[in-house]
Symmetry: C3
C-alpha cells in the first residue's frame, strides 16, 4: 500500500515520498524499507533517527527527527493499530450456512451471516448480519448475536445468551455455563438451577478458553467495550463495567461488581460479593478480598526472591509476634512506653 | 405453579392463599407477587416484613414475621434449591442418537440415552439410560457413563474413564488427558505412558474447561458427590474425597489426596504428594505446600493494599533479618538477653 | 512380554529368569509377580528387598539387594519410561481421512496421516506422514504439522502455525489465538491485528486446555523439547527455550523470554517483557516481576498457615513501618545509632 493511500485511510498527513510502498509492520528497531513502524515519544528519538523503516508514524514534535518518510499522528499507537488492519486484512469469510451446520427450524440466521462447518444454532436464536461463526460452535436456545460479531472455532454459547455487536470470541471460550450454586442438605450438595443467562454488550472481546457463567436468576453482565484475555473465569452474576480490561488467568467470584475503565492485571483473583469502583488498576497476581471505593492502583502479590532469601522471609514473617513482644520488653527496660 | 402444588412437591406446609400462583424465583428484596423467595434466618426479618413476594420459604420461627403467603421449611435454602428445578424445568432432550453422531459398532448406547449432533462414542464404551450427551463430545474407548449423567457440548472423555450416575460435566471439560509424567534422559524429556484412567463417582459435577488427568498406573479418583467449578486442574493420581467442594481456578498437583467434606477456595494451589484430611476449609488463593492432618480453616494469600503500602510491605519483609539483628543488639545493650 | 525381550528392547542386561513374563507396571511397594517396577537409589533398598515384583529395573549398585529378577540400568527411571510404551502400546490409528473431515482442496495431507471425524484442514496447510489428528480439530490456513505429531480431539490451530515433528497436543488446547494487543483511543480499545503466528519446535508437548497466542508481528516461539502441562497461558511473542518444563496453570505475559532447561513450578505467573536465563528453577505459585540473570532456584509464594496465624501474619506485616520506628527509638535511647 502506498503511503498516500495509507495516510488517506488513517486521516494522517504524509511527509516524504507519498508513492513509497509498505506492505508490513515492524518495530522501530527492526523495520526495513518495505515496513511501517511507529514511535510514541521522546525516549524513542535515537531509535527513530537510526531507523531504516519505509515510513514511521510519529507525533508532530518528533517529525524533525524522522530520517525518512513519516505520517504525523496525535496518537501514533492508535494509528498503528488502525494501520495493522489495512496492511493485514482478514480474509473475507464465505457467506451463508455450511452444508454441515445444524440450524434449528425456529432459528433466524441473516443471509449475510457466515456459519461454518459443524456448527449448531439452537431453537429461537437469532444471528444478525455480518456475524461470522467458525467451525464446531454450539449456539444454544434463545441466543442473540449482534451484527458484526465473530465466534472463532469451538465456542460454546449456552441458552439465553445475548451478545452485542462487533464482539470477538476466541476459540474454546464458554459463555453461559451453569453458575456454581449449591445448597448443602441431607449430607450432599443440591444444585440450584441457574437461569439468568449472560448479557454481553457491544465491542466485547473474550479470550481463548475463557469461561463466563450464567447468572442464577438475574443475568451475568459484561458491559460495552470490555476486553478480556485468555483463561479468565467470570462467575455467576458478576457485573463488569464499560471498557474495563482484564488480563489473562484472572478469576472473579460470584456477584462481584467491577466498575468501568478498570485494569485488572493477569492472574488476579477477586472474591465474591465485592464492589470495585471505576478506574481501579490492580497489579498482576493480586488477591482482592475487600471492596474498593477509591480509584487508584492496588497490589498484593509477593515478588520473587532467590530461594534462601524467600525462605527466610516467610520464616521471619512467622516470628513477628515474638519480635513485637521483644521490642515491647526493651521499650519498657529503656523507660519508653511505646507511645511518643 | 400454585402454592398448594409447590408445597406438595417440596413436602412443605403452605400458609396463606394456597391457590396463589408463582412462576419465578427472586431475592427477598426484589420479589414481586408472581415470584417465590426465601429467608434463612433472623437477619432477614426486616426484609421479610417488607417483602412483596408472592410467597416466601421461611423457617418455622419466622412464620409470624411473614406478611403474605409462606412455606415453612427446616432448611429454606435447600427447599429453594429444589423449587428452582420445579419452576424452571430443563427442556427434555430428544431421545436417541442424532444422525450425525459417530458410534463405534462395539459401543453400547441405551435406547433411552440422548447423543447429540457430531458426538463420537468409541470402541467398547457403554452409555446408560437417561444419559444426555450434547453436541461435539468425544467419548473414547472403554468408557462407561452411568445413568442420568449429562455431558454438555464439547466435553472430551479420553479412554478408560468411568463416570458414575447423575454426573454433570460442563462444556469444554477434559477428563483423562495424559498426566504430566516425564523422565529426563539423554538431554531430553522422555514421556511416561499414562494408562490409569479416571474413576469418577456418582453425583459429581465438573465445571467448564476443567481438566482432570488420567492416572499413571492407578486411576485418578473423584469420589461421590464432589462438586468442582470452572477451570480447575486435577493432575494424575489425585484422589478427592466424598462431597468435597472446589471453587474455580484451583490447581492440584500429582498424587495429592484430599479428604471428604473439604472446601477449597477459588484459585488455591496444592502441591503434589500431600495428604489433606477431612473437613479442611482453605481460603481463596492459598498455596498449600504441606500435608494437613487436622480439620479446620487455613489460608495464605496476602490481601490487597493500596500500591505504596503494598510496596512498603514487601520492602519491610526483605529487611526483617536486619531488624531481628537490631533488636538483639538493643536487648544486649539494655541488659536483656531476649529470654524471659 | 518376557524379560529377555524387554531387556533386548531396552538395551538392559537381565538377571534371573529371562523367560519370566510381565504385563504391567506397578510401584515397588505394590508390584506383584506379573508386574515390572523400578528403584532409583538407596532410599528404596528396603522396599526392593521386600518386593514381590516379577522384575525390577535397578541401578548396578543395587543388584545384590534385588530378591528376584532384575534389569540393570544406568538410569532406571528413564528405562521405566521406555518400558511403559512397550507394555502399554498405543492402539494404531486408522490411516487416512475420515469421511466427515473437511479438507480444503489446497491443503496437502500425507496418505500416511490420520485425520479423524469432523476435523477440518484449511487452505494451504500441510500435514506430514504419521501425523494423527483426532476428532473435532480445526486446523487453519497456512499451517504445517511435522511428521509423527499427534493432536488429540478438539485442538484448535489458528492460521500461520508451524508445528514440528513428534509434538503431542492434548484436548482443548488452542494455539494461535489472537494476542491481547490494544491501543486506548477515543474512549475505547482499538485492537491491533495479530499476524505473527506461532513457531513450535520438535518434541513439544502441550497440555489440555493450554492456550498459546500468536505473535503480533514476529511469531511466538516454543523451542524443541519444551513440555507444558494443562491450563498454561502463553501470551504473544513469548519465547520459551529448549527443554524447559512448565507445570500446570502457569501464566506468562507478553514478550517475555524464558531460557532453556528451566523448570517453572505450577501456577507461577511471569509478567511481560522479562528475560529469564537458562537453568532457572521457580517454585510453585511464584510471581516473577523482574528478569532473572542467574541460574538457580527462586520462589515467592507464601505457604499455608492455620487461619488465625495467617491473619496475624498479614496484620503484623502491615505494622512493620511502626515496628521499625519503635526499634529506632529504643536504639537512640540505649545510645545505639543502629549502625555497628
Amino acid at each position: 500500500m502506498i503511503l498516500e493511500q495509507l495516510g488517506s485511510e488513517l486521516g494522517l498527513a504524509v511527509h516524504g515520498d507519498k508513492s513509497h510502498d509498505v506492505s508490513a509492520l515492524a518495530s522501530i528497531a527492526t523495520a526495513g524499507p518495505g515496513q511501517l513502524s511507529f514511535v510514541v515519544g521522546r525516549k524513542y528519538t535515537n531509535a527513530l533517527k537510526n531507523s531504516r523503516a519505509g515510513a514511521v508514524i510519529v507525533p508532530a514534535n518528533m517529525l524533525d527527527d524522522s530520517p525518512g518518510n513519516a505520517l504525523v499522528s496525535d496518537d501514533p499507537y492508535a494509528s498503528y493499530a488502525s494501520a495493522s488492519w489495512l496492511l493485514y486484512p482478514t480474509p473475507a469469510p464465505s457467506l451463508g450456512i455450511h452444508a454441515t451446520a445444524v440450524i434449528h427450524p425456529d432459528a433466524q440466521v441473516s443471509p449475510r451471516a457466515s456459519i461454518g462447518p459443524y456448527s449448531i444454532v439452537g431453537q429461537g436464536s437469532t444471528i444478525h448480519e455480518e456475524v461470522v461463526v467458525e467451525s464446531h460452535c454450539t449456539i444454544g436456545r434463545g441466543v442473540t448475536i449482534g451484527a458484526g460479531s465473530t465466534l472463532f472455532s469451538r465456542v460454546t454459547l449456552y441458552d439465553r445468551i445475548t451478545l452485542g455487536e462487533r464482539c470477538r470470541i476466541q476459540s474454546g471460550a464458554v459463555i453461559g455455563s451453569e453458575g456454581f450454586g449449591y445448597a448443602w442438605t441431607n449430607g450432599g450438595w443440591r444444585q440450584i438451577q441457574q437461569v439468568g443467562g449472560v448479557l454481553v454488550g457491544n465491542d466485547v472481546h473474550v479470550g481463548a478458553n475463557t469461561t463466563i457463567d450464567c447468572g442464577a436468576i438475574e443475568p451475568t453482565v459484561i458491559e460495552d467495550g470490555v476486553i478480556m484475555d485468555n483463561q479468565i473465569q467470570i462467575a455467576h452474576n458478576v457485573v463488569i463495567g464499560r471498557n474495563t480490561a482484564i488480563a489473562g488467568c484472572v478469576g472473579i467470584a460470584g456477584s462481584t461488581r467491577i466498575g468501568s475503565h478498570c485494569q485488572i492485571g493477569g492472574a488476579c483473583n477477586i472474591v465474591g460479593h465485592l464492589t470495585i469502583t471505576d478506574q481501579v488498576i490492580i497489579n498482576a497476581a493480586s488477591l482482592v478480598t475487600r471492596s474498593i471505593g477509591e480509584s487508584g492502583r492496588y497490589g498484593s502479590g509477593m515478588p520473587l526472591q532467590e530461594q534462601s532469601a524467600w525462605r527466610r522471609s516467610f520464616v521471619n514473617l512467622g516470628k513477628l509476634d515474638e519480635l513485637f513482644r521483644r521490642v515491647r520488653r526493651v521499650e519498657r527496660l529503656s523507660g519508653n512506653s511505646g507511645s511518643q
